[in-house]
């Protein structure tokens, strides 16, 4: 599953649903919903990848994750005009993929022998990573408003089934950011 799907949060949730005996259709649908945010990521990459050929697009599409998007988009946004930024992106993607496979293998082989490994709280690493990636965005009012609304909505909508609260909260946050930006700066300029 790690080799072919390569989508951590949805793999995690799929295993939970599998353990609870959910039907296949529900699990696949949930995977789709959890990964919908990558649709938004791929839109973000379009301006930077539109000149590449389809092989590049397939490879970088398959290897697109939260972490690789974050690293790559920061490189694309740096003002220098290097024509090799997609190589940087590919390097990041392969590094992520390799360590994901290695960690999965470690988990498979050692998971049985280690007592209670699931209770160690290693999943907090994801929380710390996402916090560390989010804070640098908070340089203006629309961004702060986005995060406040998204966080509040995520709490309010958390009981929605199949992780739908995540999408509701994200969309509410995005709309808020756009509205606040258009109000403070008439004409609504795009920030890079």
């Amino acid at each position: 599953m790690s080799a072919c799907v390569f989508a951590g949060s949805s793999q995690f949730i799929a295993l939970g649903l599998l353990g609870a005996g959910s039907p296949l259709g529900i699990i696949v649908l949930t995977t789709w919903v959890v990964n919908l945010r990558h649709l938004l990521y791929s839109v973000g990459l379009v301006p930077h990848l539109k000149t590449q050929n389809q092989i590049w697009k397939v490879a970088l599409g398959f290897w697109l994750t939260d972490e690789t998007f974050m690293v790559a988009i920061q490189r694309y946004r740096q003002p220098d005009a290097s024509p090799y930024k997609h190589w940087f992106h590919l390097g990041s993607a392969i590094a992520m993929y390799s360590s994901w496979q290695l960690s999965t293998l470690l988990g498979l082989t050692l998971g049985q022998t280690l007592p209670n490994a699931a209770a160690w709280g290693l999943d907090f690493a994801m929380v710390a990573t996402f916090i560390g990636m989010t804070l640098p965005y908070l340089t203006n009012r629309p961004m702060v408003a986005t995060v406040v609304v998204s966080g509040a909505m995520a709490l309010l909508a958390r009981s929605l089934p199949h992780q739908l609260g995540l999408m509701v909260a994200a969309i509410a946050g995005i709309i808020t950011g756009v509205l606040v930006e258009n109000r403070t700066e008439p004409g609504g300029q795009t920030h890079g």
């Binding site: 072919c4 799907v5 989508a7 949060s9 599998l18 296949l24 699990i27 696949v28 789709w32 990964n35 945010r37 990558h38 649709l39 938004l40 990521y41 791929s42 839109v43 973000g44 539109k50 000149t51 697009k57 397939v58 697109l64 160690w120 709280g121 999943d123 907090f124 994801m126 929380v127 710390a128 996402f130 916090i131 560390g132 990636m133 989010t134 804070l135 640098p136 965005y137 908070l138 961004m143 995060v147 998204s150 966080g151 995520a154 709490l155 958390r158 009981s159 609260g165 995540l166 909260a169 994200a170 946050g173 995005i174 808020t176 950011g177 756009v178 930006e181 300029q189 795009t190 920030h191």
Partner: protein, 104 residues
């Protein structure tokens, strides 16, 4: 067989979310309003993932200092603002979380 179907299904829906827009990206021009909204996607999505993990335990909010995820998250925010170094932020935030978890 069920495993094969499950993984095939997950592969398809994952890839079909990530790839199609890249595939047509040479030909399709996106409206400026959509591009503006894109700036807000990453912080909105990441916040929506993190906040419930940090604050919700089982089915209810857990706001006390006994919640190691909350203490760890606050420490992570502090370190991130102070040092502006992602790797240090992750390692130190994880350290505070594990320490707090071990203490309570």
């Amino acid at each position: 067989m069920a495993e094969f179907q499950l993984i095939t299904g997950m592969v398809l829906v994952t890839f079909l979310v990530r790839y199609p827009l890249l595939a047509v990206s040479g030909r399709v021009k996106l409206p400026p309003r959509l591009l503006q909204a894109l700036n807000y996607v990453p912080p909105a999505v990441l916040t929506a993932i993190v906040v419930p993990i940090v604050l919700v335990e089982g089915d209810h909010l857990w706001l006390g200092l006994g919640n190691p995820r909350l203490v760890g998250a606050i420490a992570t925010v502090g370190i991130s603002l102070w040092k502006k170094n992602l790797l240090l932020t992750i390692v130190a935030g994880m350290g505070v979380f594990l320490l707090w978890k071990a203490m309570f």
